[in-house]
């Protein structure tokens, strides 16, 4: 049995792969063709390389199918639409809150003291809500088990 080095010295070696793949220069192609005209070992080698390539081309190394990738690709779309939905919802809520706040501040029927108490109560609630939401968001981003189905 001959080893790789001996084979390359005597034959055209890796050029056979380049020949099968159509990646050789004109000069290299001619060299391989001339060599193969004379060398039955390399001709056989060439046929086996073509056979191997064909076998891999027709093999099924991934059987997922395009539908699966189409589905998978919908995920970022869902994320995007969900993001837009939340953005619109928050913007709308902020506008409504702004209007309510303006009406409340400029209402002459309510005393300044009562206004301050109300601002403290609702301000406190809003701060607590923000704190909880922030914590939940941080947990969601860093939780490596979030996709695990139980």
């Amino acid at each position: 049995m001959i080893d790789d080095k001996q084979f390359v010295d005597k034959h055209v070696g890796e050029l056979l792969s380049g020949f099968v793949d159509g990646e050789l220069t004109q000069q290299q192609r001619q060299l391989v063709m001339l060599h193969c005209d004379e060398c039955s070992e390399c001709r056989e080698h060439l046929d086996k390389l073509r056979e191997l390539r064909k076998r891999i081309q027709t093999a099924s190394l991934s059987e997922a199918g395009e539908d699966k990738w189409r589905e998978t690709m919908n995920d970022p779309m869902v994320e995007l639409t969900r993001g837009i939905g939340w953005l619109l919802f928050i913007a709308g809520m902020l506008a409504v809150l702004g209007v309510i706040l303006a009406v409340f501040i400029f209402d002459d029927g309510i005393s300044v003291g009562m206004k301050l108490i109300m601002v403290a109560v609702y301000g406190g609630l809003a701060t607590l809500l923000y704190s909880v939401l922030r914590q939940r968001l941080i947990e969601r981003k860093t939780d490596k088990y979030k996709d695990v189905e139980i």
Binding site: E14, S17, L49, S60, L61, E63, E66, W69
Partner: protein, 163 residues
Amino acid sequence: MKNNEMRQQLIQLGNGAHALALQMLGNTDDATDAVHDAFVKVLRKPGGYDAKAGPLTPWFLRIVRNQCIDLIRRRRPGDVAVEELSDPGPGPEASLQASQRDQGLRRALASLSAEQRQIIVLRDYMDLSYAEIADVLEIARGTVMSKLHRARMALREELGRHD
């Protein structure tokens, strides 16, 4: 490139990308995750791809490969079993009919080094040119032919044992 056009091309690349990821990760679920993460990454910033800089395929496969490398880094040692380097396929009946031959090939591929498996998938399964392979694997273009030839020789030898 328009977003829809890019999505369509990425869908067509899905299977090849999955085959590449499978050869790197040895587990079909992890491979699916890697391809999915690559899709998310690309579609979040579709402007990141510059058509003038080269074709989409090697660019996308490089992202998939980087996702796989990230997954491998996060793994604990011993998580990958070489025997797992095959996709179980759709089911026992279809598998028996269509893939007895493929299983031999998968087992033979599993015996090669990670780089050899990748180079074979990129050339013979995905039909990438040598320049594109060099781009994906981030190796010198001049070394692709010799690495590929060695990988093919090794695969042929392994097939002789597994068939």
